[in-house]
Symmetry: C2
Subunit: 502 residues, 2 copies
C-alpha cells in the first residue's frame, strides 16, 4: 500500500511542479517581462498548463486511487494519507469529467478574451467584446453540464468553494443583505467621514517600505517571499519556501498600497503556514476561495483597520510621512481609513458596502447562466443594480460591466461569492481565536501578532486543503457558516463611527 501511495505521490508531484513552473512564468509576466515577450510567453504557459492537465487525467492515477481506497477507508478522516487520497480523487474525478479538447478550447478562449479585455476596458468597448463574452457564457454552461448539479452554477462554485451550493449562497447572501442594507442606508444619510488626509502626496518607495514592514511584523518571512510591483496586486506560491506578494502604489492614495499589501500578506501567511509535509501534493494550498479570502480580509481589515493596531502603528507612519501626517491626529486617520461610502469599484470599497458589490455580481452571474439576462443587456443590468443597491451609477461600462477581470479571463459563474464568504468566515475564525486567547486585541495594540498567527496556523493554515470549508468551520467554531459574528463586528466597529439603527 505504501508503494502505491508513493507512486501516487510521484504523479501528483509532477502535476504540482508543472503548476509551480507555470506560476513562475506568470509572476514574471506580471512583474518584469519586457513587452515583446508576451506572445511567446503565452505559448510557453499554455504548454505547461497542457502538460499538467495531461498528467491530471492520467488513468494510472485513477487505478492507484482505486487500489488505495481500502487504505483510505481504514484510516480516520483527518489522517494525512486519507486526506491526500480523498483530495486527489476529488481533483481526478473533476478533471476526467471534462474532455481535454474542451478544456483546451476553454483555456484558449479565456486567454484570448483576457487580451481583448485589456484593450476593451480602456476603450469602453463592451459591444466589441460582447461576442467573446457570449461564447464564454456558452462555454461556462457547457462546462457545468459535465457535472451533476441542482443549479448550473453549482459546478462552477465548486471549483473555488468546494461543497457550497448556489442555494446555500443565495440564502446566506439574502440574510446578509437584510442586515447590511439598513446599515448602509443609515450611514449614507449621515455626514460622510473625511478621508482627505489619505489623498495628500505620498512618495511611492516609503509607502511600500512601510507596508512591507507591517507585513513582516504580521509574520510574512522575506526568506520565503518578496514584494514586487504589478498592475493588480496578487499572491502567488511557487513552493513552501517561495510565496510572493505584489502591490500597486499610488502617490495620491495612501490606503491603496498599504491595505493591499496587508491583504496579500494575509493570503501569503495562509500558504506559508501549511504543513510543509504537504509539499508537492494537492493538500499544499488553501482549501477554498472563501477561506483564503477570510485570511486576507482578516489581516487587512479586522487587524489592519482596527483602532488598536493603529494606536501602536500610527506613530511610525507619522515618522515616515511627517509633512503629510504630522498634524493629523490618530482619530482622524482612523476614521479616514474606515470611511463608509457607496462607490463604483469593488476593490476600493469599504468593509460595509463591499459585500453589496459581490452580491450584484453573484446575482448577475446566476441570471446569465439561467438565461434570464443576455450578455447584450448586461451593461444596463449592471448600472440598474448599482443604482438600486448602492445609489451610484458608473459614467460608462469601464467601471461597470467591464470592471472586473474574472468573467473575461475564465468562466461566468462561481467567480465572486468567495469574497463575501471570506468576510463572513474571517469573523467566525477571529471570534474563535479570541475565545481561545482573549488577550489577542491587547497584543495587536502592542504590535504583536504571534498569538493570533500561531492560533490561525494551528487551526486553519497548517491543514492546507485537508479539510473543506465546512469541515474547518465545524472544527474551529463547532458549527456551520453563520453571518452573526460578522454582523456583530460591523455593528460594533461602525456603531462607534456612525449612528446605526438597532
Amino acid at each position: 500500500m505504501q508503494e502505491k501511495l508513493q507512486e501516487l505521490k510521484r504523479h501528483l508531484l509532477e502535476i504540482s511542479d508543472l503548476s509551480s513552473a507555470y506560476a513562475v512564468l506568470n509572476w514574471d509576466q506580471s512583474t518584469y517581462m519586457p513587452p515583446q515577450g508576451a506572445t511567446y510567453r503565452s505559448r510557453q504557459q499554455a504548454l505547461l498548463v497542457r502538460l499538467a492537465q495531461e498528467r491530471a487525467v492520467n488513468p494510472a492515477i485513477g487505478r492507484l486511487l482505486d487500489d488505495l481506497r481500502p487504505h483510505e477507508e481504514s484510516l480516520p478522516y483527518e489522517h494525512d494519507d486519507a486526506a491526500l487520497i480523498r483530495v486527489a480523487r476529488r481533483n481526478y474525478e473533476l478533471a476526467i469529467k471534462v474532455p481535454p479538447a474542451f478544456v483546451g478550447r476553454l483555456v484558449e478562449h479565456a486567454g484570448n478574451t483576457y487580451v481583448a479585455w485589456t484593450q476593451a476596458r480602456p476603450a469602453n468597448d463592451f459591444k466589441g467584446i460582447a461576442p467573446m463574452l457570449e461564447k464564454t457564457l456558452d462555454l461556462s454552461r457547457e462546462y457545468a453540464q459535465h457535472f451533476p448539479h441542482d443549479h448550473l452554477a453549482d459546478p462552477l462554485i465548486d471549483q473555488s468553494d468546494f461543497g457550497m451550493k448556489t442555494e446555500d449562497i443565495r440564502r446566506i447572501f439574502a440574510e446578509l443583505r437584510r442586515e447590511l442594507v439598513p446599515i448602509v442606508q443609515a450611514i449614507s444619510d449621515q455626514e460622510p467621514l473625511d478621508d482627505s488626509v489619505l489623498r495628500r502626496h505620498y512618495p511611492k518607495q516609503p509607502q511600500l517600505d512601510f507596508a512591507y514592514e507591517l507585513a513582516k511584523a504580521f509574520g510574512y518571512d522575506p526568506q520565503r517571499g518578496r514584494l514586487d510591483l504589478t498592475a493588480h496586486p496578487f499572491m502567488t506560491k511557487f513552493s513552501p519556501g517561495d510565496v510572493r506578494i505584489t502591490a500597486r502604489v499610488k502617490e495620491d492614495d495612501l490606503g491603496d498600497a498599504l491595505f493591499s499589501v496587508l491583504h496579500e500578506a494575509g493570503h501569503a501567511l495562509y500558504e506559508l503556514g501549511i504543513d510543509t509535509a504537504y509539499d508537492g501534493t494537492p493538500l499544499n494550498g488553501g482549501t477554498s476561495a472563501g477561506v483564503h479570502e477570510s485570511q486576507s480580509r482578516l489581516w487587512e481589515n479586522v487587524v489592519g483597520r482596527s483602532r488598536g493596531f493603529w494606536e501602536h502603528t500610527y506613530g511610525d507612519l507619522q515618522k515616515v510621512f511627517p509633512d503629510q501626517l504630522g498634524d493629523v491626529p490618530l482619530d482622524v486617520f482612523y476614521r479616514a481609513i474606515n470611511k463608509v461610502q457607496p462607490s463604483l469599484i469593488r476593490t476600493d470599497a469599504d468593509e460595509v458596502t463591499y459585500n453589496l458589490h459581490v452580491m450584484i455580481r453573484f446575482d448577475l452571474e446566476l441570471d446569465l447562466l439561467d438565461g434570464k439576462l443576455s450578455i447584450r443587456d448586461l451593461p444596463e443590468a449592471w448600472h440598474s443594480r448599482y443604482q438600486s443597491d448602492l445609489g451610484v451609477r458608473a459614467p460608462s461600462d469601464v467601471d461597470g460591466a467591464l470592471q472586473d477581470v474574472h468573467w473575461y479571463g475564465g468562466v461566468i459563474g462561481g467567480a465572486f461569492q468567495g469574497y463575501t464568504l471570506g468576510n463572513i468566515i474571517s469573523l467566525q475564525f477571529y471570534e474563535a481565536a479570541l475565545k481561545a486567547n482573549p488577550h489577542i486585541p491587547t497584543e495587536i495594540a502592542q504590535g504583536k501578532f504571534d498569538t493570533l498567527r500561531t492560533w490561525l496556523t494551528e487551526n486553519v493554515y497548517s491543514h492546507g486543503s485537508k479539510f473543506t470549508t465546512a469541515d474547518l468551520l465545524e472544527r474551529v467554531t463547532g458549527g456551520p457558516l453563520t453571518i452573526a459574528p460578522y454582523i456583530r463586528y460591523l455593528r460594533s466597529k461602525y456603531g462607534e463611527l456612525y449612528s446605526l439603527p438597532n
Copy 2:
C-alpha cells in the same frame, strides 16, 4: 512532406518551450528568488530538464527525420528547411547516443557539485570537493566514450563548438601562444599603465544606468530585454521577444559593470538578431560558444574599449561622474581601461593576457582527460602553469583550481576553448565588416553603431544555428579560422600603448 515537417516542428517547439521555461526559472533563481525557495526550485528545474530530454529522444523525431531526408537532400544546404532538418538531426543523434539514465546521473551530479562548489570556494576547500570532481572526470570520460572521437575531448568540445577537433584547437592555440608570449613579456618589462582612476568611488545606480544606455545605443532593445543584478553576469533568452542580460556592480571598480554589460549586450544582440522565423526550432540560438563569444568580445572590446568609442562617449561619462572623472583626461581613462597586466582571474583579465588563462585551462582539461594529471594534483598544476605562463601565483585555490564554475557545474572538457576562439573570430568578422563598410570606425567615433550591427545581423546573427562556425567563417571571410586579424589588432592597438617587439 510539408506535413511531416510541420509535425517535426511541433516536436521541436515543445522541446524549445520547455527549455525556455527552464531558463525563466533559472533567471529567477539568480535574480529574485528568496533564499528558502532554492531546494524546491532545483526540483522544478530538474523536472523541466527531464521533460525536455524525454522529448529530445522521442523515436517519433527519428522517424520524421528519416522520412524527411529526401526532402532535405533535394534542397540547397543553406535552405531554411534543410538547415532545420540538419541541425535537428545532429541534436537528435547526439541525444540518443547517451542513455537517459546516464544523463540523469550526470545532471544530478553536476547540480550537487555546483552547490558544493559554492561552499568549497569561499572555504578554500579543494580537498573537500576533490572526490566530487573525480567523479565528474569519470563521468566526463564516460560521456565522451559514447561518441566517435580522435581525442576524448572531441565530443565534449563538439557540445559547445560543433565541428572543432582537439587537434585543431591545439594547433591554433600553439600559434596564438607563439605570438602572445613575446608581447606579454615585452609589456611586463615596461612601466605598468595607471588604472587607479577606475578605483575611485563610483555609486552603483549611475554606473548601471550609464552602462545600460550604452547597451541601448549599441542596439539592445528594452522592449525585448532588461538588465538585472546577479552574482555573475550572464545573458539568457526566453524567446525572440525576451533576451535578458544581468550585471554585477562594484563601487570601487568602474570597469566591472561597464564592460560586463557591454559584453552581455553583445551576446544579446546576437540572439536578438536571429531570424524570428526560427523561433521554436533548434536554429533559434547562436551557433557555437566561439561565435557567441566573438560577439560579446567584439562589442565589449573591439568597440567598447576602442579610442574612437570613448572619444564620443567619455564626455557623457564625465558628466555622470564629474567628481571622479572631471579632472581625468580622455587619454588617461583610455589607458586605464586598456591596461595590460598578468593577473589571477580570467574574467578580469585584459585583452592580451586573457587567452593565456584560457590555454592553461584547456591544457589542464586535456591532461585530466588523458590521465596525465590527477584531480589531486590539479591545484599544484594550476599554480605551476600560472607561474610559468603569467608569472603570478594565487595565494590559495580560491583563485586557483576553484576559480571557475565550469568544471563544478558540468563536465571537464570543452568548457573554455570558446572564449579564445571568440577573440580570434571577433577580429575575423570585424575585418570583414570594415572591408564592406570602411566608415564603421568613423561612425563608432560618432556614437553610431547601426552599420556595424546591421552588417553583423545580416552576415552572422540572422542565421542563428543554420551555419556552423566553419560555414560562417567561410561565408563571411572566404576562409577558415585564422589568428592573423586578431594579432594585427592586438599589435596595432597595444603597439600604440606600449613598445612592442616586431
